[in-house]
Symmetry: C2
Subunit: 348 residues, 2 copies
């Protein structure tokens, strides 16, 4: 591959002139410029970006830490990131971490070793914690070159992009309450996640506001997979006094739960309502179509990238917290609560 010196030789100018022709053409006379451009073409010259980046210290790479790309919601978020990154001439390095701290640390190290300029984390965990804090003695606590999106840390040392999960869960629970449901179960995400905690909080907010007592047995653990929704639903249906509605913290679990419900011979909506969260493409094509909370997934990605670039360019002094809007999408999987069974007393 030809380099700038060869072009300079061909054009009979100095390397500086070649560089300027390409970077700041106004500084070069028209005559010289043409000579150089001809030489560039003749040599088939393409600047070696490794060299450019080495010198500038900017890689124009961003690392994305995602628990799993195989998750439909995350895939949409990543699409959005890609879009914004491409617009801004950045490339996206994918870090499929499987939620493993070691793996996250390995990818975070790419930032420290100048393989990437910054990092976007989709999980509530600071991957830099694991690395020895570089300049902890430094008195200027600059922002970390990181953005936390979707599932955010409570005290993130960086910009965050988040949904008001508490309000969204509250809205969905209110929807179910308005349909007459009183025994509303929730299939949760991973226990430690702030996201799970917020959604449970929103759920309890709505129950409390409606004067419906909270029942611990209606809170079932899940891990966002189809299978875990299926399993959790099985447990809930086996309760002595099973719920009339199940609110799942994501759509996959809701689809898994519906499957279980139908296998048991019950009708979704008529016998038991099911709601999800995320509004993935499969939600509208579920049977029945799934009531859910729509999240602007691609917008999460775009916003996260833009914020990160702002951090990298030093445009931010404080870490903003961006809250994106949600939308309650009512489809056919939720319906009026069935009339209470014979011997069941209703203390409302």
């Amino acid at each position: 591959m030809s380099n700038i010196r060869e072009v300079a030789r061909l054009a009979e100018v100095s390397v500086a002139t070649v560089s300027r022709t390409l970077q700041q053409p106004d500084l070069v006379s028209l005559k010289t410029r043409n000579k150089v451009l001809a030489a560039v073409k003749a040599a088939g010259y393409k600047p070696n970006l490794m060299a450019v980046r080495f010198r500038s210290g900017k890689t124009h790479n961003l690392v994305v830490l995602v628990p799993t790309v195989a998750n439909v919601f995350f895939a949409r978020v990543i699409s959005g990131m890609q879009e914004a990154a491409h617009e801004n001439q950045y490339a996206l390095l994918l870090g499929n971490t499987l939620g493993d701290d070691e793996m996250e640390a390995a990818y975070a190290r790419m930032v420290q070793t100048s393989q990437a300029d910054g990092l976007i984390q989709l999980r509530a965990h600071n991957p830099f914690d694991a690395l020895q804090q570089q300049d902890s003695a430094d008195d200027s606590p600059a922002l970390l070159p990181m953005v936390n999106a979707c599932e955010v840390l409570d005290k993130a040392p960086c910009p965050t992009v988040v949904l008001d999960n508490r309000a969204a869960a509250c809205a969905m629970t209110e929807h179910l309450l308005a349909l007459g449901h009183r025994r509303i179960a929730m299939i949760k995400g991973p226990a430690r996640s702030p996201l799970t905690r917020d959604r449970v909080a929103g759920y309890r907010d709505a129950l409390q506001a409606a004067g419906v007592p909270f029942a611990a047995e209606l809170l079932s653990p899940g891990n966002f997979s189809l299978q875990s929704g299926f399993d959790a639903a099985a447990d809930l249906l086996a309760l002595p006094n099973p719920p009339t509605a199940i609110f799942c913290e994501n759509d996959e679990m809701a689809i898994g739960a519906m499957q279980r419900i139908k296998q048991q011979g019950l009708r979704v909506s008529a016998d038991i309502s099911v709601a999800g969260f995320d509004d993935i493409s499969f939600a509208a094509f579920a049977d029945p179509p799934l009531t859910t909370i729509a999240q602007p997934a691609e917008e999460f990605g775009r916003t996260a990238v833009r914020l990160l670039i702002d951090v990298l360019e030093g445009k931010l002094s404080k870490a903003p917290k961006v809250i994106l809007p949600f939308d309650l999408v009512i489809r056919a999987s939720t319906g009026p609560a069935p009339a209470p069974k014979d011997n069941q007393s209703d203390k409302t």
Copy 2:
């Protein structure tokens, strides 16, 4: 950030010794080695990988061109790639191209400008074609630093990883024929794709072997989306003599098709069988669970990455074509063909 010269100063040795301590410790005496390692720690030294790569000319980055990460199947393939890449100390640059040639060319240029060492393409299209062929005069037609996976070019100038789509489609069609179906429709993928062509060929192979005439009206176009499956099914059901089975070229379209069938008041399996392709996680949780062709998606990714690394390391002189196995997964969405309606004559 500290550099190697600072470490050398701290350890009172030359930069060469520091580098050797880190790269080839056997060449350095134990005493010196310890001194250097202490200095490395004291300085918090991390080698600048940009510099290393700039000098070595290897970026250890691989670009992945994927039509859309939002596709569940591709997401799994990428997971596999990530796994193999990480194992081999490579990083994955994501190129979500939306099937756009321009975009693909932009990412392919990353290889030419030394931002990445090689490229994996998941679509049947050579992104380097769009770029002026670098050294076409060169008499050694070396392998392109590229691997084509999943949907491969007919005359790919690089290693390929593929499924025997023709055989797989044939196997599924045979399954449907064995159930007594004679009017078997197929919802296709994008028309120009070799993948679509091969699956249609396999479908026709099976029909022909069974002596069932091919009916053009039973071939319906799709684009792999849920909605397109839904729409195509609507068209097929509206035929004067509708099919008793629909074989979709991916699971999303099959799920979309089932939705349409059920909306029409028909029962999947009992009235009309539906089959998919890919075995995405949602297939097992569809209602009814979807009969499909399981593809080793993650293995596609892993194999593609390993082949690409082999190419980059010059271990391959010819471009191998790796064929991965498929598996016919029979679930409840396919069943015996319904007894022919009254006035319908059966010419078998």
